[in-house]
Amino acid sequence: MSAVLLIARRELRAAFAGLYGWAILALVLMLDGLFFNAYTLGSARPSSEVLSLFFYTNFGVTMAAAVFVTMRSFAAEREQRTLVLLLTSPAGDWQVVLGKYLGALGFVLCTVAAAAYIPVMVWLKGNLEWGQAAAGYLGIALAAAVCTAIGIFCSALAPNQLAAGVAAGFLVTLQVLFWLLSGISEPPLDGVFAAMDLYHEHFEPFQEGAVHLKTLVYAPTVSFLFLLFSVRVLQARRWR
């Protein structure tokens, strides 16, 4: 098995081995359930609108989950002095970063999968559009990929878990606030900010069932950039 998959598998198992992972999972399920109850139950809405609202709330919950999962990634290993094991192994820095990224992303996607009972309820009790569901989940996966990469970068950079969480929370929130920035900016900055906005520009069409090619380019590109920054941080620490 490659070093990337080894590290990813260990990360995923570690997340479920302790209370922390289960606590995040429980929180995600609780928030998804509460929002679903608040927005949709008891109101007469079309199934497509119910599903759209679910993806809307699940997007926010998933972003938060990504921040909470990744804040531990490198920062916790540094605090527990286990990072040296990876840094002195024959695995390259990019393999270490990619392994940690895939492990964290795997856990975030597990939380997404755990909340799939809500679309199942829509399917059972309403008229689920499979295309909208597939597009919505693709959008969630892409947003999770971006937020997880941001979190990994912050965890590699920050001195401790708290700082990593705060930094990741700020950057992830900024991804959503680019829309507001574009509204108060002059051309050409407004277009730049709008293109960088994670929710309105990139995710919103997916929750309505539309798959945009630009998002299929945007999400991997931004993820790659933050992972590259993470590799550079690890390399810089060897020189410090």
Partner: protein, 319 residues
């Protein structure tokens, strides 16, 4: 014999702080090398560079002929490293942890169980393979840490303060373990406990404030420190024999066991053993025995550190 580890003008700076300053040494295969120094001497930094965790600010380092700047991953595959705090995932069982580390270091899957059993037996952790690491004592954690460093059969094993936080019984066991690792692979063990180095190492690197003050066997360091000690057994009384000694040979201990024979322990400075023997013979004393006295490492170390700059790399045990 070929040097397994070689450094040339190796330096490392943390901002304005110099952790290592132009360190040069070579070590041969199979040696157990003690890295000795006070806190902050640069011991851990040296080991971290040899392990590939850090890159040097300047100078060169080679492990098994490979330099980190050329192929750091190949260099890291030749090294097994135990930091002062063992890098253990406490939620894992020992068997899973060793399996993970072995696979990460490229041990083929079909060889892993055999290697694990072998290493577990060698470091005496066979009885705790199915226990959770977080539940182990510090002694066992250190042993598991050494097991992970040995699993991929590296050419060089680096142990940073392996006896720290251990109780006396565990220290004895660890000392035997470190000693047993030598021969087939080169072992570096850092410590500021002189007794550990004294009892486990073939050669010693003495670091002080980032500089390598000396490198060699304990006897060679005694010479470097400027005061070689010898013991002579002569016919005659101690006082008479002492009067015949040349300048530079000072009596630090004299014994008169009887039978007309005395034993003198001499500290030599600026005088050779041959001159001492010749002077005694000229004085009419029959020299029955003359041999070097294994230097007290504590005295040697303090002499070196206090006389910093006076002694430099010497023994080159590896070359």
């Amino acid at each position: 014999m070929t040097a397994v580890v070689r450094t040339e003008r190796l330096s490392k700076h943390y901002g304005a702080v110099t952790a290592l300053a132009g360190v040069d040494f070579e070590c041969r295969a199979g040696d157990v090398v003690g890295v000795l120094g006070l806190n902050g001497a640069g011991k851990s930094t040296l080991l971290r560079i040899l392990a590939g965790e850090l890159l040097p600010s300047s100078g060169r380092v080679q492990v098994g002929g490979v330099e980190p700047g050329v192929d750091s991953r190949a260099m890291r595959s030749r090294v097994g490293y135990l930091p002062e705090e063992p890098p253990l995932y406490r939620e894992m069982r020992v068997r899973d942890y060793l399996g993970f580390v072995g696979a990460l270091n490229g041990v083929p899957r079909n060889e892993l169980p055999g290697r694990m059993a072998l290493v577990a037996e060698r470091v005496h952790v066979g009885d705790c393979l199915d226990r959770v690491i977080g539940e182990l004592s510090m002694g066992y954690r250190k042993r598991v840490g050494i097991a992970q460093a040995l699993l991929h059969e590296p050419d060089v094993v680096l142990l940073d303060e392996p006896v720290s936080s251990l109780d006396p019984a565990e220290i004895v066991g660890m000392r035997e373990l470190v000693r047993s690792l030598g021969g087939r692979r080169t072992v570096f063990t850092s410590s500021h406990h002189l007794r550990e180095v004294h009892e486990t190492c073939d050669s010693i690197l003495v670091l002080h404030e980032g500089e390598l003050l000396a490198h060699g066997s304990q006897e060679e360091l005694g010479v470097l420190a400027g005061r070689e000690r010898i013991e002579v057994e002569v016919r005659g009384t101690p006082a008479e024999a002492a009067s015949a000694l040349p300048a530079g040979a000072n009596v630090v201990h004299a014994a008169d066991p009887g039978g007309g024979v005395s034993t003198l322990t001499l500290e030599l400075s600026d005088v050779e053993r041959e001159e001492v023997a010749a002077a005694l013979v000229r004085g009419g004393f029959g020299v029955r025995r003359l041999e070097p006295v294994r230097s007290d490492l504590e005295r040697v170390f303090l002499d070196l550190v206090r006389g910093e700059g006076g002694a430099r790399t010497g023994g080159e045990s590896g070359t």
